[in-house]
Each structure stands twice: as structure tokens, then as C-alpha cells.
């Protein structure tokens, strides 16, 4: 549906995006993941035709963006990082304006606007001026303008950054609801976002593509580990429990790869027990701690997150480059 081949953007000596090649299949949600300044926005701007690439091609729904910009752009809905809103307009009027720009037939404009309002869940503010809306609502109006012409391709640049957690959750819900109707490319530096909604993730750093795969496969490829975090009370009467004793006891459990134990805040010891992915040591660890008569204050299990994968990938790149 969207194909990027050898996409490159150079600003003088600086290469912002370097030889990016991805094919996005119809109906797929592709996450573009990278730290700030990795080249995510530049990439999306090239895909939407806002920036011309220095090299490489973009094809959208069979149309080359360079040779047939009008046809290609008709197929794309785009929510830039800063939603492109006119604060003096009402939501409804604004969406009507966007519909005209996007070649929605005049006879269908009213229905298209109403549908976009419904899908972005902004019925309550539809006749208010955009200037009076909260950030979360503005973001949803931005989303509504991206889908008003029902484009097959939807491009979202950091759709949830700068929102509070509740707004972020709501916008993520909306994006999940759009899945299936559109082929989506979305960028983010917030990791749970891609692992929640994306079918495939492209990790980019310094303009280069580090990895492309499903979130699950990425974890597997890095031989992800599972881990258990424990918090143990260090004081029992007058005695102080040494962290080293905890470490030794936990290391003795079967299936343990590595244990770290440190003195934590206010007389506690925090320990982290790592095991191969899929091996759940929570019950064993709890039994061991209570069996010794130590106070178990907290216990939680976690598997290697995209965050850690991402850090691992970018770190090895940094070392390789140095």
C-alpha cells in the first residue's frame, strides 16, 4: 500500500534519513520508533509529500508521489506532530474546509464531516471554536481532519505525545478503532504505544533503520529475559539482613540466570531475578523469601520491554559507530 525505497534526506553534510526501505501492506499498522531527532518526522514528511526526498521513491496506493502528487496525496490522511488547526474556526467548519482541500465531492462533504466527527468522538465540541478546546480535543480534531476523506493511508506523527495519560489513552483507543479501515504509519518515542497497536515496528536511530519486525519477534530475536522484582524488609528486630545473603539465596533457585540485590530506601533490599523468557519464577521466589522468614514487601514480574530492546539496539549501534 505504501512503499518506501531507498528514501534518503540530506541537509548539507547531515544525513537525517538514510536509505530507508519498507513496504507497508494494506491494512497494516506500522510503528516508527526512535528517540527524538532520529528522523521520524522527516521520514513521515517525505511520505506525505511535504518534504522532497534527496534520494529514493515513495509510492502510495500505486501512485508515485513524485510523478503523480495529486493522486497520491488524495490517498493520504496526515496528522502532523502539531495538529494543523485554525483556532478561529469551529470544528465543523474546519473539517468542511479540509474536506474541500482533500477533494471530497461537495454533495458528500456534510456527511463526511459528520462521520469524521463521530469517529473521532468530538460530537460535543463540533460547533465550538477550536481555540476554546483542550489539547486532547485538539488532537482528536486533528485526527478527524486526517480521516475526513476516508483515505486508505493514514500517517500519524507522534499522535499521543504532549497529552496527559487519560487523553493519551483515549487517543490510543481511537487509533485502535481505526485499525482495519486504514493502512497506518505512526511514529512515536513512547514504546507501549507501538507494542499495543502496531503489527510491525521499524526502529530507527540517527536516520538509519535498525530493525523491522513484529514487537514479539523483536523481543525474541534479542533473547529477551523475564525478570522478577522483589522488595524485602532488611530489618528483623535488631538484626540487619545483608543484601549479599539475599542474592545468594535467590541465585540458588533453579532456572535463574542472574540476580542483583541492593540496599534500597528506608531499610529495604531490592532484588531483581532474571530468567530465560517464558520462565516464571514469581511463585518460587515468594516461597523462598517467606520460607526464610524474611519480610516480602513487594513482588512484580516483568518481561523485557520494547524500551529495553530499543536501548539495546541503539546502544550497540552507538558502540559500533564509535
Amino acid at each position: 500500500m505504501v512503499s518506501l525505497s531507498h528514501l534518503t534526506k540530506k541537509y548539507g553534510a547531515l544525513t537525517a534519513v538514510d536509505d530507508l526501505c519498507v513496504d507497508v501492506r494494506e491494512g497494516e499498522v506500522l510503528g516508527l520508533l526512535g528517540p527524538n531527532g532520529a528522523g521520524k518526522t522527516t521520514t513521515l514528511r517525505m511520505v506525505t509529500g511535504f518534504l522532497p526526498p534527496s534520494m529514493g521513491r515513495v509510492r502510495i496506493a500505486g501512485y508515485d508521489l513524485f510523478d503523480h502528487p495529486v493522486q497520491a496525496k488524495q490517498k493520504v490522511g496526515y496528522l502532523p506532530e502539531q495538529p494543523p488547526l485554525y483556532p478561529e474556526m469551529t470544528v465543523r467548519r474546519y473539517l468542511g474546509f479540509v474536506a474541500a482541500l482533500k477533494d471530497v465531492p461537495a454533495a458528500r462533504t456534510k456527511a463526511a464531516v459528520s462521520l469524521a466527527i463521530e469517529r473521532a468522538r468530538i460530537e460535543d465540541v463540533a460547533d465550538r471554536r477550536i481555540a476554546t478546546l483542550s489539547k486532547g480535543f485538539r488532537q482528536r480534531v486533528g485526527l478527524a481532519q486526517a480521516i475526513v476523506h476516508e483515505p486508505p493511508v493514514l500517517i500519524l506523527d507522534e499522535p499521543t505525545s504532549s497529552l496527559d495519560p487519560k487523553q493519551r489513552y483515549e487517543v490510543r483507543e481511537l487509533i485502535t478503532a481505526l485499525k482495519g479501515r486504514h493502512t497506518v504509519i505512526l511514529s512515536t518515542h513512547i514504546l507501549p504505544e507501538v507494542s499495543d497497536v502496531a503489527d510491525r515496528v521499524v526502529i530507527i536511530n540517527r536516520g538509519r533503520m535498525m530493525a523491522v519486525d513484529s514487537p514479539a519477534n523483536l523481543a525474541w530475536r534479542l533473547r529477551a529475559r523475564a525478570s522478577v522484582k522483589l522488595e524485602i524488609g532488611a530489618r528483623a528486630g535488631d538484626l540487619v539482613l545483608p543484601a549479599e545473603a539475599v542474592r545468594e539465596a535467590l541465585t540458588a533457585m533453579p532456572g535463574v540466570l542472574e540476580v542483583r540485590a541492593d540496599i534500597g530506601a528506608a531499610g529495604t533490599i531490592t532484588a531483581r531475578v532474571e530468567s530465560p523468557a517464558g520462565v516464571d519464577l514469581r511463585a518460587e521466589a515468594a516461597a523462598l523469601v517467606t520460607g526464610r522468614g524474611w519480610q516480602l514487601l513487594a513482588l512484580s514480574g516483568e518481561s523485557l520491554s520494547l524500551e529495553e530492546i530499543f536501548l539495546a539496539l541503539t546502544r550497540s549501534e552507538d558502540q559500533g559507530g564509535a
Binding site: Y11, R45, T48, G49, F50, L51, P52, P69, V70, Q71, K73, Q74, V76, Y78, P80, Q82, P83, P84, L85, Y86, P87, E88, M89, R93, F97, V98, A100, L101, K102, D103, A106, Q145
Partner: protein, 261 residues
């Protein structure tokens, strides 16, 4: 064409909620009224003086057709006011879209640069036309006390629209170059003031330069229309400035995508 009209309509709507546009319109109308009433009073007194001279001495130094003289003077003054007003109306045309990030919407839509520029030009000139409307009651006031001079009024208004159109097109181009509204306004002032008075620079003799600069000057070209003369050459002259301004603005908007950030 639909894109152009949609952009023009949005532009007009945003003028009508913009404090800058309202301030410009208010001051323009007030100062126009001031000029008009002052001139009317002045020339009516002159005419009365001339009448009494004729009665006493059988002849007068003055031959005054009050409506014609007032209108000619008035339209020249209005040209001066437009020069002050238009840069304030055009300073944000593209600059503001860049500031708000809405330029990204326009440029990722299936819309061509010329449609963006054309829509903005149409919107601004429509607002200018609305701004000229309060002049009509002033003319009617004078018409009620004497003759209407419909020809001079029509050619005068047309002249103002052509002059304003040229200023708008140039202001639109300057706006597309600027990221800051104030810089955009100052740049446009530089351009329109220079073009307004360019004929006064080397006006020593009848040399080729005087003629050339004279034919370039907004002021000199605008004079005909204040006297009820609609000359094809003047229309072509201002239309050429409009075309040049729009062409440069379109090239500049298309080139915006090559700028960093």
C-alpha cells in the same frame, strides 16, 4: 478552482475574526471620513468664494466643479491610505500558516501552489472590497447635495482595487518569504512605498530615466482613475504587477518545502 475558493473563503472568514483586520478597517474608515469631510468643506468654501468673486467682478480665478475636485483629491489620499493599510492585511497571509503549522495541511493536500496563492489573493482582495464599502455612503452624501459623478466614483473605486490588488500580490509574495509577521509587514512597506513614490526620485528633467520611473510609479499610474479615466494601459500595468506578485508567491510557496524544518 474549488480549492482556490475554499481557501479564499477561509481567508475572508479569518479576516472577520481578526483584531488586526478590524483595527485596520476601523482606522481606514475613520481617516477616510476625515479626509472626505475636510475636503468637501474646503472646496465648497472655495466654490462659494469663486461665486462671490464672479458676482462682484464678473469673473473669478477659480473654476471649480466641486464633486470632481473633491473626488480626485479624495481618491489620491485613499491611495496613500491603502499603502499604509494593505501591508497589515497581507503580512500574515502565508507567514501565519507557517507559524500555526497549517501550511503542512495545505502542502500535503492534493492542492497546487497556485491554488493556495490564488485563494489567498482572492480572500484578501475581497476583504479590501468590503473595506471600501463605507466610502459609498460618503459619496451618496455628496451626491445628495449636488451631482453624483457616478463615472468618477466607479473609476476611482476600480483604481483603488487595482492598486490594492498589486499591493496585495506583492505583500503575499513577501509574506511567503517571512517567518515573522512584523518582518513581513516591514518588507511589504518597503516595496509598496518605493513603488508608490519611485517617480519622485530622479525627476529633474525629461530624461529617459524620469520617463521610465514615472511609468513604473503606482502614484502616477493611479492618477487617471481618480479623474474618471479608465485607461487600458493602467489596467494592464496593475494587472501585470498582480501577475508578477502571484507568480513569485507561487514559486516561493512551492519552494517552502525545500527549506529546513
Amino acid at each position: 478552482m474549488r480549492h482556490t475558493l475554499a481557501i479564499a473563503r477561509r481567508e475572508i472568514e479569518s479576516y472577520f475574526v481578526s483584531p488586526i483586520a478590524y483595527a485596520v478597517m476601523t482606522v481606514f474608515t475613520f481617516v477616510s471620513g476625515l479626509f472626505f469631510s475636510n475636503m468637501l468643506v474646503h472646496y465648497v468654501r472655495q466654490a462659494a468664494l469663486a461665486d462671490s468673486q464672479t458676482q462682484k467682478f464678473g469673473r473669478s480665478d477659480y473654476q471649480l466643479d466641486v464633486p470632481t475636485v473633491v473626488l480626485a483629491q479624495f481618491f489620491q489620499n485613499e491611495a496613500f491610505l491603502l499603502m499604509l493599510a494593505v501591508p497589515l492585511l497581507t503580512m500574515g497571509l502565508v507567514t501565519d500558516e507557517r507559524r500555526k503549522g497549517t501550511i503542512e495541511l495545505l502542502m500535503t493536500s492534493p492542492v497546487r501552489g497556485i491554488e493556495i496563492v490564488g485563494g489567498k489573493f482572492l480572500g484578501a482582495i475581497a476583504f479590501l472590497a468590503v473595506m471600501l464599502l463605507p466610502l459609498v455612503p460618503m459619496f451618496a452624501f455628496m451626491g445628495a447635495g449636488g451631482s453624483w459623478e457616478a463615472g468618477v466614483i466607479t473609476s476611482g473605486l476600480l483604481g483603488l482595487l487595482l492598486l490594492g490588488g498589486a499591493q496585495i500580490a506583492l505583500g503575499l509574495f513577501v509574506s511567503s518569504l517571512c517567518e515573522n509577521m512584523l518582518v513581513s509587514a516591514i518588507g511589504t512597506y518597503g516595496l509598496v512605498v518605493t513603488l508608490q513614490f519611485i517617480d519622485t526620485t530622479g525627476a529633474v528633467d525629461g530624461s529617459i530615466w524620469t520617463k521610465l520611473l514615472g511609468s513604473l510609479s503606482f502614484y502616477a499610474r493611479h492618477l487617471n482613475s481618480t479623474r474618471g479615466v479608465v485607461a487600458a494601459a493602467d489596467i494592464v500595468y496593475f494587472a501585470s504587477w498582480i501577475a508578477l506578485g502571484l507568480f513569485l508567491a507561487q514559486r516561493s510557496v512551492d519552494a517552502l518545502r525545500y527549506k529546513r524544518s
